[in-house]
Amino acid sequence: MKTTPRYVIYREWIFLSAAVLFSVFLIMFNDSSFNDTLSSYGLDAYSLINYDYFSFREKSAMQKELADLKTKIMYFENNSEAVESAIEENYRLRSMLSIQERDSFEFVYARIAGISPGSTRTILLINAGREKGVGPGDAVITEAGVIGFIETAGESTSRVSLISGRTGKIAVRTEINRAYGILAPLNSETAAIEEIAKGVNVNIGENIFTADFSEVYPPDLLVGTVISVSDSSATINKKILLSFAQNMDTIEDVFVMRRTKKE
């Protein structure tokens, strides 16, 4: 058997050390601008090869969707007058009380272009990017509720970090008592809410919304519904479990909330 020269073995170990060190550097500085740039290039390259080859839809499914949309339009047109007068009243009261005006948003429609290949479904790729004005930090929602925010934006593809993932620790509030807590995701369907005191009344079935003071998420977006409440913990806080409003495994299309300007 041929023996490998010692200098070749040394060289190989040096290469391995370099690869390990570089990877560790990338992991340690995961939020750095270098990683964002790298990710942006990766997304641009992916958008070149990604094409929706198998997205043919049946005529009956499209007809059903069209009928549903027409019904929704009718419903919203019927209620638009009442909503408009409520908004006007809200503006008037806000200006009387000198309350800070809310940000206004534009909605950018996008379809799913990919998902994280691992077993933790924490990243989604969507087919909207800088060319549609989408940028890092924009909130992403579906018809059911909030799902995450734009982590990196490529030219025509963006990466969404889901609230069910590592970055899902966000400020939330309860519906009735407006008690503030912190969302701690457990898996793609459920999360715990921390830091809500035992004295606060929270009911099963109550909706949970994003809090008013988040820098990423606009206030009052539906996050999920309470499925269990318990006072049995040894701390001063309740143990609250919620089910996400949107099942993260069945997302097909999303809306990016692009911040435009103050109203």
């Binding site: 390990v20 990877s23 990766g42 990604n50 077993s119 479904r121």
Partner: protein
């Protein structure tokens, strides 16, 4: 030689695209096999040059991380180490019997799942992560490796 590298690069791109775009099709209860890792191990088993295998593992990991990875650098770290040691072992042994090859797959896949999911699913308690994510993913990847091995055995 260059032709083989080009062929492998095309295959790698295809696998990366499939695993990002269509991985939900072969996901079972949210658990997915790491088909990219299987491809890299199979390649490393053919190539007794750890340096080349390392380069392929590192590049593939970095590409998948930069497109859809939760933590950039974790796949490149894992795949680099796995590919390097599989090739290193391949060079040291003249003949690899099937039981040793199976053990090699088991070690590599378990190591990869443990390292990747410990970091990417760090918000979940470790025991829960181990039971619900790491072990099922490793088992599914091994099952996929057995299927690939049956369809196209490595020498």
């Amino acid at each position: 030689m260059i032709k083989q590298h080009i062929k492998f690069a095309i295959l790698l791109s295809l696998i990366i695209w499939v695993s990002i775009r269509y991985s939900s099709l072969y996901s079972v209860l949210g658990v997915k096999p790491d088909i990219l890792l299987i491809l890299l191990i199979r390649r490393s088993l053919h190539d007794p040059r750890p340096q080349i295998s390392l380069a392929w593992g590192f590049s593939a990991g970095l590409i998948i991380d930069s497109i859809a990875g939760d933590v950039i650098g974790i796949s490149s770290l894992t795949y680099s180490i796995v590919c390097f040691f599989v090739s290193f072992y391949k060079r040291a042994s003249v003949y690899t019997p099937s039981y040793k090859r199976t053990l090699l797959y088991i070690y590599s896949i378990s190591f990869s799942a443990l390292l990747i999911y410990t970091v990417t699913a760090s918000s979940i308690p470790f025991i829960k992560n181990l039971i619900f994510i790491i072990i099922p993913s490793a088992v599914y990847t091994m099952a996929a490796a057995v299927i690939f091995q049956t369809l196209k055995p490595t020498r």
